[in-house]
Symmetry: C2
Subunit: 699 residues, 2 copies
C-alpha cells in the first residue's frame, strides 16, 4: 500500500489530477486513500486540496447514476458527543461533496458503543445527543446520512425501558426517519437490555411512534427508505445475527432481516459495533454473505473501529453482492472512508489481518498453531492500549522489566502502541534475579529503544522484612495461626516493584503503570495483588502463555525492527524469580509450581470453548499427552490443582485493571460474571447414588 | 424476644410440653423459634427433641384443616448445591413432620441467587442441580415443596437462551409441576437476561413444555396447582413487580400476576431473591399488599436471606391476607422457618429493622436524618461481611486504624461481624500522624476488644523515599514531565500501610486486609490505589460520609457495649493525615481539599436518585445552602470539581474490591456500569446555538 503521508501538497495535487484523468476504480480507491490521510490529519492539506480530491472522486463516481455509498468506519469516544459529532459532520460534508447517495456510520456513533448505564444515571447526555443530532440533520443536503443515537422514549411511556438504540436517516436538512434496534445482545461484553427497550417494529418506524423528535421535523415514510431510486432496508447490529437457516440455534424468536426482506428492499444496510474476538471475523463474513445470498439482496455492513475500555472493535466494514460475494471490505483496525456501490458492484477488498482468512468459524481441537491469529491479536491489543490511553488522557507507561516473557511482550506492545519514547522499562532486580535476566531486560530495552533504568529493590525488601519482623511478632502474640510456609517473601518483592511503578506514575505526568499478568497465570491466581497484577492497564490478561511464546516469535519476525526480543527470553522457562526452589537451589520454575503450560492452556481452552467439566477433561486426550506420558494420577492431580486454584482466583479477577479482550471467551469481569462466593462449586459432580446417600444422612 | 439458646435440653423439652398444652398461636410461634434454634444449631438437640417439637407444632396446627404453609427463609451459598440441598431436605423433613400442606423456598435455592454466567461456562453444575432436585423430590411425602433450580432447555431447542429460572413443585416423591420465571430483571445488580430465557407461559407449565425432566416423573397439571383443596398461583420474584395499577411505569408489557389471577387461585405464592437497598422494603410491602388486595387473593412471599458477593438479602418474607393486610412477616437478616396460614390468617409479624417502617418509598429531598435507615444499614453490612468471609473461606480481618472515621466504623462492623478476636487493628503512624489520632486508635481498639498493635511506617517511608530519589532521577533524565507538585508523598504512606496489611494477610491463615474507603471519597477519587482502596473487602464503600457520622453515633448508642467509638473521632474533621496543609501548617482537612461533605453528599444523592445534571444542581437549593452562605461562584467551583474528579475516578471504581451495596444506587461495578473511557462527557451540555457554531467551524 502506498504511503501518501510522505508526499507534499504539490505532489498530492498532481497525483490527484493524474488519478482523476485515469478515472477507473483503481484511481477511485487511490484518491479515497489520500482523502483518508487528510481526514485523519496524516497529511496537512488545505481545504482547497481536500475539495479538489472530493471533486475528483465525484467525477469518477458520476458514471454510476445511483447507489454510491460511503462507509464511514470511524473511531468514536464514549460519551464525547462533541468529538464524535464533529467527525460525523466532517465525513458528511465529504460525502455531500462527492455527491454520494448516502453515508453510513457505525451503531450509536454519537455516543460511542457501549455507553452502558451512563445514560440512565446522567440523562443529560441523551438530551445532548438529540440536540447534536438535530444540528447535524440541519447540515445535510441531498446525500442521506445514517447516524446512530440514543432515543429517549419520552411520550406516552408507561412500560418498558427508557431508551431505544436508534439510527436516524438524515437528508435535506431533516430527520427523514428512524430505525430502532430490535434484538438486544445481553451476554459476554454486551449489556444492551440493561438500558434499551427492544423495538417491536423493524425498519423505518411508522410516524405514530416517532414521538421523540419535534413532530414538524419528521416526514412520514415506509419501513424501507428510498434514496435516489434505491430502496434500503436498514437494521442495527444484532438485528442481523438471528438467521434461523444459518445458525443451528438462534438467541431470539424474531428475525428482523426476514421481516425487512418482506418489504423487498434493493439493498440491506446494517450499522454495527462488533468487537474483535478470536474466530469471530470469519463467522461474521459467512453470516453476512449467507444473508445477502439467501434474500438475493446486497448487504452493506458498517462496523465501528477503535477500542472502548476492554472491547477492541475491528472495523473491516463490508459489502456483499446479492449472491453473497464479497465486493468490498474496509481496513482492519483503522479508520476509513470506503466508497462502495452495491448496485454496480463497485468496491475494494482490503485484507483482513494476515492468516485470518484461514481460521474457520469453529476450532475443534486445541492447538499450539496460533500463527493465523497473531496479527489480529497484535492489532487488537495495540488498538486497545492506544485508545485506552488516548481516550482517558494518559500518554506514558512505566513497567517492570524482569527479563521474563510477560513483561517483555508487554514492553514491545507498549512501544508500538504509544511510541518508544513514552515507555519506561525499569529493571528492579532482587537477590534472586539472575544476571542473565538483568542483561536480557537491558538488551530488550535497547533493542526497542524504550527508556530504561535499573533500580534494585534490595534496600526496600530489607527494610520491609525488618519492619515485618516487628509486625509479625506483634500479630503472632495474638493470633496463633501463622503459616509454616508463606508467600510473604515472594510478594514483598512483587509489591516493592509495584510501589516503584506507582511512584513514577504519581511523579510524572500522564503516566500509568502496566499490569503484566497473562491469562494462564490469572486462571491459576499466580499473580500478586498490589504486585504484578496491579497497574492502570493489563495488555495481555487475555493471552494464554503458550500463545505468548508464539506471539514473541511472531513479533521478532514481523515488526519492522526484527528480533527485538532476545532469543534467551523466549527460550528460558518462565518463573517469577521470586523464590528459590529448595529442590534445585535455583529460582522456582512456574511450570513446576503449576503444571505444564501446554496442558494448562488446553484445560482453559476446553472449558471456555467446549464447556467441558472434570470428567470430560479426564477422558479427553490432551495434545500434551500425545507428546508426553502422563499418568492418570498425574492428570487428575493437575486437574484438581486447576479447579482448586481457579476457584480461589475469582477474587483476583474482580480487581484486575482494564484489559483487552482477545480470545473467544475470557475472564475479564466485563465479559464473564461469576460470584466470588461460588468458590465451593463441585466441578466433579456426584452420582445419583452418592447424592441419595448424602441426603439420607443429612436428615 | 426470648433467647432459647441459653436453655438446656431438659428445660426446652419441658417448655415445649407446656407450650403444646397451651396450644395457641403464641405457643405455635414460641415452638417455631425453638425449632429455628435447633435448625440453626444454636441449640444442641437430639433428634428426639426435634421430633417432639415438630409434633407439638403439628398438634397445634391440626385445628386448621388446610392452608398450613412453611416459609423456609434460608441462606444459600452460590453454586454449593450440596450445602443448599442438605438444608432444603432438612427443612422439608420438618415440614412433613408438622404435616404442613407446603413448604416454600426462595428463588433458585439450589444454586443460590445470583449464580450469573457460571452456568454457561460450567454447565455441569446445571446437570448436578437436576440430579439433586430429583433426589430431593424422591424424599417428599404429602407435604409439597417449592424448590427453585436452573432448568436447562434441552430438547427441541432451536431458539433462545439455554436456561429457565424455575421452581419445581415436589410432592409424594414426584415432580408435580414446574413454574418458570417470565420477567427477567436486567438492571442494577441483576443480569437475568444474560443467561435465562423468559418463560412465555406463566404458572405451572403445560405438560408438553416440561421437556427437561424424565417424562415419567412429571404429572400433568393445570396452570395453578391444588394442594389439600387450595388452589395456588405460583410466580418467581420479578414476575410480581409489574402491576400497571401500582407502578406509574412498568418495565415489561406482560403482567404474570394478572394472567395467573385469571385462573382464580385461592392464594398467590412468590419465590423471591430480593436484596436490601435503601427505600426498598417499604416499596415491596406496599406493592405486595396492593397486589393481594387488587385481586382479593392472599399473597405469600418468600425471600432469600444472606449475602452473595455485593448483594445482601434481607429476608423479611411475608404473607398478606386477601384484603392486603399484613398477617405475617419473618425476621430481617436471619434464617427462619415461619409457619403461616393464609386461609385462616395465622401468622406472626416480626419487626423490620428499627425505623424502616417510617421510611416512605420515595424520599423527595436530601436529608442528614439518616436515623430510620441505620439499623438496616448496620445489618446489611454485617451480613455482607460475615457471609463474604464465611462463603469464601476467610475468617480474620486486618485493617489500619488511623483514628479517623472510616477505619473506625470499619473496625466496629468487623468486630461485630467476625468476632473481636478475629479482627486486628494496626495503627501505622507516620510523622504527620498526630498523637491524638494514635491514642484515639488505641482507645477504640481497647473499647472494641479487638487485637491491636502499633507499628510505625517511618523506616519504610524513609527507605522508599531514598529509593525514589534514585528512581525519579533516572526517570527524570529521560522524561521532562515531572510534576511540580505531586501526591507521591501522600501515597507512599498509604501504600506502605497496605504493604503491611497484605503482609499480615500473607503470613496468617484465612486473613484478608480491609479497604476502608467511603462512598463520598470514592466519588471524588480521594483514595489511594494499592493504599486505602486496596483490600479483600470494602465494607463502607457504599456509605456516604455524612451518613457515617450519624452511623458512628448510632453504633455508640445501639451496640451492647455503648460508646465504643471515642467522641473525639466523631468530632474531628476528616483528613487522611497524609499531607500538611501549607496554609495552616496542620494536616490537610479533606473538606478543604474537596468541599463540605454535606454539599458533596447532596450532589451524589441528587445524581443517583433524581438523575440531575449540572444546571439542575446549580438551580437547586442545597440543604447546605440553607445553613451557610454559598456564592454562585463557589457553588459552580464545587460542581466543576465534582464532575472533574468523578470523571477521573471511574478507573478506581473498576478495581474496588467486593463491597456491600447499601444505598438505593451505588457505584459498585456490579451495580453500575460506565465506560472508563467516557471521562470526557460534557455534563454541562451546550445550547443548540453553541452546537451549531461548533459544527459550522468544524467543516
Amino acid at each position: 500500500m502506498i504511503d501518501y503521508s510522505v508526499l507534499n501538497e504539490n505532489e498530492i495535487s498532481t497525483l490527484a489530477e493524474d488519478l482523476s484523468i485515469e478515472g477507473n476504480e483503481n484511481s477511485l480507491y487511490s484518491l479515497s486513500e489520500i482523502l483518508d490521510c487528510i481526514l485523519q490529519n496524516k497529511i496537512n492539506a488545505t481545504d482547497e486540496l481536500k475539495d479538489k480530491i472530493t471533486s475528483n472522486i465525484r467525477d469518477i463516481l458520476s458514471k454510476y447514476d445511483k447507489g454510491n455509498i460511503g462507509l464511514a468506519q470511524i473511531n468514536p469516544i464514549a460519551g464525547d458527543i462533541e468529538y464524535n459529532a464533529k467527525k460525523v459532520v466532517k465525513y458528511i460534508k465529504c460525502a455531500q461533496d462527492m455527491n454520494l447517495d448516502m453515508i453510513i456510520f457505525p451503531e450509536l456513533i454519537l455516543m460511542g458503543y457501549p455507553i452502558e448505564d451512563t445514560i440512565e444515571r446522567h440523562p443529560i447526555i441523551v438530551e445532548e445527543n438529540i440536540k447534536w443530532l438535530k444540528e447535524i440533520a440541519a447540515k445535510t443536503g441531498s446525500t442521506a446520512a445514517l447516524v446512530g443515537f440514543i432515543e429517549p422514549r419520552k411520550y406516552n411511556l408507561t412500560t418498558g425501558k427508557s431508551y431505544y438504540n436508534s439510527v436516524a436517516i438524515l437528508q435535506d436538512g431533516e430527520i427523514k426517519g428512524i430505525v430502532r434496534k430490535s434484538l438486544l445482545p445481553t451476554y459476554s461484553e454486551f449489556n444492551d437490555y440493561r438500558y434499551i427497550e427492544p423495538s417491536p417494529v423493524v425498519g423505518v418506524q411508522p410516524d405514530s411512534t416517532l414521538c421523540l423528535l419535534d413532530e414538524d421535523n419528521v416526514v412520514d415514510c415506509d419501513k424501507t427508505i428510498t434514496i435516489n431510486g434505491i430502496k434500503y432496508g436498514i437494521s442495527i447490529c444484532e438485528d442481523c445475527w438471528n438467521n434461523k437457516d444459518f445458525f443451528d440455534r438462534t438467541l431470539y424468536s424474531k428475525d428482523p432481516i426476514e421481516e425487512l426482506a418482506a418489504e423487498k428492499p434493493d439493498v440491506f444496510i446494517n450499522c454495527s459495533a462488533s468487537p474483535s474476538r478470536a474466530k469471530k471475523e470469519q463467522l461474521k463474513h459467512n453470516m453476512l454473505s449467507f444473508t445477502a445470498n439467501a434474500y438475493k439482496t446486497p448487504m452493506v455492513y458498517v462496523n465501528q473501529v477503535g477500542a472502548i475500555d476492554n472491547s477492541s472493535f475491528e472495523g473491516s466494514s463490508r459489502t456483499f453482492s446479492s449472491d453473497g460475494a464479497l465486493i468490498a471490505r474496509a481496513k482492519s483496525f483503522e479508520e476509513q472512508f470506503l466508497i462502495v456501490n452495491p448496485i454496480y458492484k463497485i468496491g475494494k477488498i482490503y485484507p483482513l489481518t494476515k492468516g485470518l482468512e484461514k481460521t474457520l468459524t469453529e476450532q475443534k481441537v486445541f492447538t499450539l498453531e496460533y500463527e493465523n491469529d497473531l496479527e489480529r491479536t497484535y492489532k487488537t491489543i495495540i488498538q486497545g492500549i492506544r485508545d485506552y490511553f488516548k481516550k482517558v488522557g494518559f500518554k506514558r507507561a512505566v513497567l517492570g522489566l524482569s527479563g521474563g516473557l510477560d513483561s517483555t511482550v508487554c514492553a514491545v506492545l507498549l512501544a508500538d502502541a504509544l511510541g518508544k519514547e513514552n515507555v519506561f522499562g525499569i529493571s528492579m532486580p532482587s537477590k534472586i534475579t539472575s544476571d542473565a535476566s538483568r542483561s536480557d531486560a537491558e538488551i530488550l530495552a535497547r533493542n526497542l529503544g524504550i527508556n530504561f533504568a535499573e533500580v534494585p529493590i534490595k534496600d526496600m525488601v530489607d527494610t520491609t522484612n525488618m519492619m515485618f519482623k516487628t509486625l509479625f511478632r506483634e500479630v503472632e502474640a495474638k493470633w496463633d495461626c501463622r503459616y509454616k510456609q508463606s508467600f510473604t517473601q515472594d510478594n514483598i518483592q512483587a509489591r516493592s516493584r509495584a510501589m516503584y511503578l506507582w511512584g513514577v506514575s504519581n511523579e510524572f505526568e500522564k503516566c500509568i503503570p502496566i499490569a503484566t499478568s497473562d491469562k494462564s497465570e490469572l486462571y491459576m491466581g499466580y499473580a500478586t495483588i498490589n504486585g504484578d497484577m496491579s497497574g492502570g492497564f493489563a495488555p495481555i490478561a487475555d493471552v494464554p502463555k503458550t500463545k505468548l511464546f508464539a506471539f514473541a516469535r511472531w513479533l521478532n519476525k514481523n515488526r519492522e525492527e526484527k528480533n527485538a526480543i532476545p532469543e534467551a527470553i523466549i527460550l528460558k522457562k518462565p518463573g517469577a524469580e521470586l523464590a528459590i526452589d529448595p529442590k534445585t537451589g535455583k529460582p522456582l520454575i512456574a511450570e513446576d509450581a503449576l503444571m505444564p503450560y501446554e496442558f494448562l492452556d488446553e484445560i482453559i481452552w476446553r472449558i471456555e470453548n467446549k464447556h467441558e467439566h472434570y470428567w470430560d477433561l479426564m477422558g479427553a486426550t490432551f495434545q500434551y499427552e500425545l507428546k508426553h506420558t502422563v499418568s492418570k494420577e498425574q492428570k487428575s492431580q493437575w486437574l484438581d490443582k486447576f479447579y482448586r486454584r481457579m476457584s480461589t482466583a475469582l477474587y483476583k479477577w474482580s480487581i484486575l485493571p482494564p484489559s483487552v479482550i482477545v480470545e473467544s471467551r475470557s475472564i475479564n469481569k466485563y465479559d464473564y460474571k461469576q460470584p466470588i462466593t461460588s468458590s465451593r462449586i463441585n466441578y466433579k459432580g456426584l452420582s445419583r447414588e452418592e447424592i441419595r446417600t448424602i441426603l439420607d444422612e443429612s436428615v
